[in-house]
């Protein structure tokens, strides 16, 4: 097969009913493309007939590729599996549940031609239950505030990436919403465009309520990683400062208690408080050193990350049909 310019990666988990419609809609859009493309369907350990559906579709669709994962690994690892198999220069990700509209892909690609490395979809009219929309809005606001990458909608799966940006995003866990933030670490230019969003047709939503805790953990992680992964000691040392200050404060008070003969209870109390604060502060600094060691022995240095976002200046895709 000729080298595709665009790879469309779709993770699927129990989407038996949607697969056929999804592929036909992508193909419909694909007819307008003037370049070869591939559709990579990643079956994330579905327990229904998703894989059979993919296999059924394969014969008539040479641009279709299927990857079957052995177990349900989660949306992000499934996407990463797709990335690792993708051959295109540009990779577009989609949700498998038809809530994203493949017809929006050209909009993302057009935006990309303006020189962006990552274009994220923004579900302006989101068609989900309010119990999902509200926490998502809060999360988006926090991510936007803390990561310095300002998008309205991080959770939208419809995103387009320049392939060389993806290699730095070997994300883990459930981090796909942070791909833009991780990408910006490597200097990628990021923007968003409004896209359509449709209510679910088939199957149930695969998100639970405990996601809020998880997303907040992830937000914390991403901040830590993006700000301090190259100098972790700084982060740990900064967070130990309040404790050092508290320790100093309590130490002064305990000296005062001894000097001015306050009750013995007070003196003891201040002293122990001071000692506890010192404990916390020293623990943080020591952890920071350990973190520095971990980063030092890993093969992922910051310079390596920077190398990854070298962008070809020619602008026009290299692998295009004449």
């Amino acid at each position: 097969m000729e080298c595709p310019y665009l790879s469309i990666v779709v993770p699927l988990y129990n989407e038996e009913e949607s697969v056929e419609e999804l592929v036909s809609r992508i193909r419909e859009v694909g007819r307008s493309f003037r370049f070869p493309y591939e559709i990579i369907l990643v079956d994330d350990g579905s327990t229904d007939g998703t894989w059979d559906a993919i296999q059924r579709l394969k014969p008539g669709n040479p641009e279709l590729r299927g990857i079957k994962l052995r177990s349900n690994c989660g949306q992000t690892p499934a996407m990463v599996a797709g990335f690792d198999h993708a051959k295109g220069e540009i990779i577009v990700t989609l949700d498998g549940d038809l809530q994203n509209d493949p017809a929006d892909i050209p909009i993302l690609l057009d935006k990309m031609k303006e020189g962006f490395d990552i274009v994220s979809g923004w579900r302006v009219n989101r068609k989900d239950h309010s119990s999902r929309v509200l926490p998502s809005k809060v999360a988006n606001a926090i991510i936007s505030r803390t990561t310095g990458v300002h998008l309205h909608d991080y959770g939208c799966s419809l995103k387009a990436y320049r392939a060389e940006c993806i290699t730095s995003l070997k994300a883990y866990g459930e981090m796909h919403r942070f791909f833009p933030a991780l990408g910006s670490m490597t200097g990628a230019r990021i923007t968003e465009v409004a896209v359509n969003h449709h209510p679910r047709k088939h199957g149930a939503s695969k998100y639970g309520f405990d996601r809020i805790f998880k997303v907040f953990c992830d937000i914390f992680t991403i901040n830590l990683i993006s700000k301090f992964s190259s100098n972790p000691l700084k982060g740990f040392a900064l967070s130990s400062l309040p404790f050092f200050m508290a320790a100093l404060f309590f130490a002064v008070l305990s000296f005062a208690a001894v000097a001015w003969h306050w009750t013995q209870g007070k003196a003891l109390f201040f002293m122990v408080s001071s000692a506890l604060s010192v404990t916390a502060a020293v623990h943080l600094v020591v952890l920071g050193l350990l973190a520095e060691l971990v980063v030092n022995v890993s093969d992922l240095s910051h310079t390596q990350l920077m190398k990854i976002t070298k962008k070809s200046i020619e602008g026009e895709p290299r692998c295009r049909v004449k």
């Binding site: 296999q55 299927g66 079957k68 052995r70 992830d218 404990t279 943080l284 952890l287 973190a291």
Partner: protein, 308 residues
């Protein structure tokens, strides 16, 4: 080659020579190609003599000796590297099963199975032994959300790919079927009758029990939080910190509004202590995230069964 049978020999086992004889008979009768590999792991002089005797008796037997007593996972790796069979059968010491069960085990390894674990359903050892084994396996089941009944049974069959993909170390060896199942391999349990148990029985030393509990905890942590440690640590950190905050806050408010002196309240120190503990646990989780980020990306988080 169809079968590679790896014996992990860590102590003298008088049942070994007859078992190998049975095994060879069964395999010859099935007309399958096979190899037998013995890995002596920290075994004594007597065991070595036994193995030498076996080498003299059976042609084509391979035997290796590890330079020092290694964890089971390492011993298995050593044997696995030498093996060439499509199906690897791993046998530990002291757990000989009957000929019928052996045939049954091999037959269970069909095309739709990746791992076969033998389950000593009718055990002949003491009821106390069975009880502690049942408790142990119950714990593992609860922690790993699997349905294995007998992880201590030492005869297990693996398709080659399983041992290539499921990375184990140290004591994780016993959890191989569970770990394989979590990776999406198809695991089957087969009821076996086994001969008289000749190994360790009854109450073992406290160190052994502690080790088993630690193993289960390792399994729990590694399988759920290896890539997202902050979730584990921050949960505990939050519980400690919030309790500490509640305690110190209450004492503080009581001082403000009711005039109780803080200096006379030892419980305030407890609150402070909990706050500090929470911070320590949560910040350790951050370190965990850094480790996962810097080193985790080398191992893919997914495993591909097939592509079209």
């Amino acid at each position: 080659m169809k079968y590679s049978i790896i014996f992990l020999v860590d102590e003298l086992d008088p049942g070994l020579p007859p078992f190998i004889r049975t095994l060879r008979e069964v395999l010859t009768w099935q007309k399958e190609s096979y190899e037998i590999i013995l890995v002596a792991n920290g075994a004594g002089r007597e065991t070595q003599m036994q193995i030498e005797g076996l080498l003299a008796e059976h042609e084509g037997l391979k035997a290796f000796e590890l330079s020092c007593k290694a964890p089971q996972a390492t011993a298995l790796r050593a044997g696995f590297e030498e093996s060439r069979g499509e199906i690897i059968m791993v046998c530990g010491s002291h757990q000989q099963i009957s000929r019928e069960s052996l045939v049954e085990l091999m037959r269970s390894m069909d095309d739709s199975t990746d791992v076969v674990n033998s389950w000593r359903a009718e055990r002949t050892d003491s009821s106390f032994n069975q009880l502690q084994s049942r408790v142990y396996n119950g714990l593992v089941r609860a922690v790993s959300r699997s349905d294995m009944h007998d992880l201590s049974s030492a005869i297990k069959l693996f398709r080659r790919q399983v041992l290539e993909e499921v990375e184990i170390y140290g004591n994780l060896y016993r959890f191989l079927p569970v770990l394989a199942a979590q990776k999406g391999f198809r695991v089957k349990e087969v009821r076996c009758t086994h001969h008289q148990w000749r190994g360790k029985t009854g109450l073992v030393g406290p160190a052994e029990y502690i080790e088993r509990i630690v193993d289960i905890f390792t399994l729990y942590f590694i399988t759920r939080f290896a890539r997202k440690p902050l979730r584990f640590f921050s949960l505990f950190g939050l519980v400690f910190s919030l309790t500490g905050l509640a305690v110190t806050g209450t004492v503080f408010l009581q001082k403000l509004f009711l005039g109780y002196g803080i200096g006379e309240r030892p419980v305030f120190l407890l609150g402070m202590f909990l706050l500090v503990l929470g911070v320590q646990v949560a910040s350790t989780g951050l370190l965990g995230e850094i480790v996962a980020f810097t080193h985790g990306r080398r191992k893919p988080q997914y495993n591909v069964e097939k592509t079209i």
